[in-house]
Symmetry: D2
Subunit: 312 residues, 4 copies
Amino acid sequence: MSLPPSLPPEFHDIAKRVNNWGRWGRGDEIGTLNLITDEVVREAVRTVVSGQRVPLALDLKQDGVQTGMIPGRVNPLHVMIQINQELFGPGTVATSDDAVTFGLQAATHWDALTHVSHSGKIYNGRPAATITPHGRSGFSGIHTARHLVSRGVLLDVASAKGLDRLPGDHAVTPEDLDEAAEYGRVTVRAGDIVLVRTGQMRAYLAGDRHGYAFPSPGLSIRTPEWFHARDVAAVANDTLTFEIFPPEIENLWLPVHALDLVEMGMLQGQNWNLESLSTACAQSGRYAFLLSAMPEPFVGGTGTPVAPVALL
Amino acid sequence: MSLPPSLPPEFHDIAKRVNNWGRWGRGDEIGTLNLITDEVVREAVRTVVSGQRVPLALDLKQDGVQTGMIPGRVNPLHVMIQINQELFGPGTVATSDDAVTFGLQAATHWDALTHVSHSGKIYNGRPAATITPHGRSGFSGIHTARHLVSRGVLLDVASAKGLDRLPGDHAVTPEDLDEAAEYGRVTVRAGDIVLVRTGQMRAYLAGDRHGYAFPSPGLSIRTPEWFHARDVAAVANDTLTFEIFPPEIENLWLPVHALDLVEMGMLQGQNWNLESLSTACAQSGRYAFLLSAMPEPFVGGTGTPVAPVALL
Amino acid sequence: MSLPPSLPPEFHDIAKRVNNWGRWGRGDEIGTLNLITDEVVREAVRTVVSGQRVPLALDLKQDGVQTGMIPGRVNPLHVMIQINQELFGPGTVATSDDAVTFGLQAATHWDALTHVSHSGKIYNGRPAATITPHGRSGFSGIHTARHLVSRGVLLDVASAKGLDRLPGDHAVTPEDLDEAAEYGRVTVRAGDIVLVRTGQMRAYLAGDRHGYAFPSPGLSIRTPEWFHARDVAAVANDTLTFEIFPPEIENLWLPVHALDLVEMGMLQGQNWNLESLSTACAQSGRYAFLLSAMPEPFVGGTGTPVAPVALL
Amino acid sequence: MSLPPSLPPEFHDIAKRVNNWGRWGRGDEIGTLNLITDEVVREAVRTVVSGQRVPLALDLKQDGVQTGMIPGRVNPLHVMIQINQELFGPGTVATSDDAVTFGLQAATHWDALTHVSHSGKIYNGRPAATITPHGRSGFSGIHTARHLVSRGVLLDVASAKGLDRLPGDHAVTPEDLDEAAEYGRVTVRAGDIVLVRTGQMRAYLAGDRHGYAFPSPGLSIRTPEWFHARDVAAVANDTLTFEIFPPEIENLWLPVHALDLVEMGMLQGQNWNLESLSTACAQSGRYAFLLSAMPEPFVGGTGTPVAPVALL
């Protein structure tokens, strides 16, 4: 792995410590999802007490979270291709059909491991050039991440601090995660999917798309080691950029993406609406649950919309 | 409700018997999904024994199940909008992004209740004109069906008959459903999501898209009463058209769609890949499981791609 | 024709005077384009002196003139589907391909006659319901307007007044058009395509998309009679909305659209870049030229991108 | 320029003879379009006698010429985003809007010079890597080819041979072009846009899309030298692949594309409907005319839909 000058030594130091390349074989495509075993799922099922279902996806609509800041990552353009069309003649049963165009990372989504590269590599040391214009590289496309059900844990960092929403310049640290785990009386375990709530989604839900996007609290460059130490399977939160934005360290952009996706091989989720879940967990006193968050299997996708649901 | 001459009396007789309009209030938008209670979910969770996760979605790709027979219902056009782009300058962390255009009913999907109208009405007696060119009518759009987790039951009609795949002219009858339930030693209950396997998907998986599309086995016009009697929440199967196609009764097209979606208010799923599930159920001897099949919440969508997963 | 209360009598008075329904037969689909005869084209050809070609289309790109104000009228999302792909094996000739999603009225475009209806009617008295969700109604779709070449005349209203750009609240009147014709020493004739320059495009070209959109100078409700009296074939200008916006008469929105497209059956063009043409006409002293502005023949399109060219 | 083994010596021999790299400067982006001077346009204008306008574009529609053979090059998906929507309240003027998704090379189109590369180079010796995933490389994108009006010449190869349509295995040779020029009593000159008619379009117009696609007559590898000798500005024809397909020389795929686009820097047009033009030229006895064929200026486009028109 060549070290370009622009990624500083401190990045590479952490990278070495969280690196999972080869851990599940040189041909592995799913990284930390390997940590979700049948046993983990069985344990996750046991967390369900009330049967309450809490959906975590934002509405998919043209005035969604995207503001045009990221060219091409367009909000859904949803259009009708048939309306009450009597396909087989007048008076017959009529159908309505629709189609959509949108960026796979436009709304509530998972990043695929291929979403990010650094120093010419993607996860497991594969060359970044594996990703082709067709996006149909088999390797680590989102269609390979087909089993995203596990125990979910909400780390409600904002509530643990008695806040509705973290300030825009707040980098969520390992200490914050510990504090939130203690607040929820939950221990993060191998194979868990961790949901980190900052409260930032409140800006979007209140109609402030630009305030939601930037500046935004998010995960600190110090968190990948915390997740790595606990063998977390995946992490999602309620922000546009996942990590604090603008970044903690000047000119070091998207380091958490690079550490999580490239080095650890750990999926990240963004734009998850954790507001109802926060309420449900507070009311039940339970911060662990069964989480189903299946990717739409776009072959070669570097991301996917997802409609996660928590069963409490 | 006016009765146009082209829908015959036998259709209207059944329609009266399965009609649920007003059952959950005049403003209800989700029909039989009301039958999935927290208690049903709790019971569903109890069916999980091994923790095995069986995904049921087809790959989303340009050479998917659509053949052009239904204008506008296009297979996914998946394109890259960034490839390893160093957004913040040379040597920085690089990202890849993608976008997609496709018909919401193109692959493994749920029909929304608004997908079908007859005699000028959609579910709950609302005027068909509720569906606008924008598709953004709030009423009964797929975004209202946000809690699609329940007990799933596989009725493996093909296997119950010792067949890999039902013949193309086989209408699946109530008797067939009974036979399959007995084969799986399972009793269909209120709130269940029933998956009916015909084996037709084998044609597609073997590369024969046209043979998959037509002619196709599928549900008989007699099945809506069976589902209604058991208060089933939703039904999905492994065919393109859901019901037998071409239809049982000459010139009576899509009667099952009209009865299920319009009269009962019961969601239908199509193009579900039930092959692995068939194997898993046979091996475990258990034909009931926890099923998560969350719609992507396209506002006003008359359908949605779905990536269902069965937990056994 | 029923008269809904919201369109005031003054609108209907003008409507009667400019109405062309039935003038070219009840089945006519192209309205004033009938006025472009072979003789008109021959005369247009004679205006060409230097052979200079002046293109009038804006670049098609994602940060184009649309700002999201009109839902669904999206700027072009242009994506690569192949990049230097060696289709027939390594070392063979390689191809690059691309695709695009965009609103047909997003950039430099023609409105089809079907773009607007009022009082339940489109051009020639056809019911507005002629326009179906598929957009594939044959009647008056943009694909029927296949011969858009004629004499073009630039009425440079801004320059005639010694201005770079008209104020945002300036309604271009018949008197302004007369003044500009005199300024260009040109007489508008039957079959001409008239280009009206306000200079508003300068805002967009200077990077101010919102200032370009609104408020904007544009054609007055009094201009349709001026065009009708001269039997103009089509009119285009350099603004987003064509007519003055917000409108001259409170709560009377888009009256010029309704008069031009519905009553007269005269095509309108918007977002035409007339800046270079203004310079070329001023330099040559000739304000009439051969204009080719062929629609892309989208079947049933209610508009079309166009790349017009003036030959001077 | 490295010579990969798969492009044979005979290709490279021709390549050297037709190469125009550097002819109009190292920074040139438009190749042989430089040959269309104002004088050429003035001469072209003089060919117009009757004022007849003959449009040459195919309808843009979902069942267009593409059959799925080229992944991603999709026929237009044309959808309505508004239908008679009374934007400003009940009873106000109503608008209909539409949007489209399609491959830029899907129907009647120009290839941009960037559409093809060989041996790692595009036109003028630029690296093929100039073409990025965004397609927004400035260099030689179709938006740079903004002045496509010139003298058009129809070489009606099929009619010259007394045929409606050339056989599928007929490679159009320089001798065929000479024969057709003699048949039309026309001399091809510098700056001309040459339209070569094979009659193959008749298959598509008769409903046989697959027969249209393949096998197809088309230009021989020997024709680039013929065009080069005459300093032709651009060439279009009435086939899907432009050149004979499958190719004349085994395993030498798309050599004409590579010679025309990469070596000469000469635009190619495909899927042009030359049937009406053939009739008009035969009736008038004139095979030269004014041709306007303006690209839609998609920034960085490797192709563009075009609606050409011939003025006779």
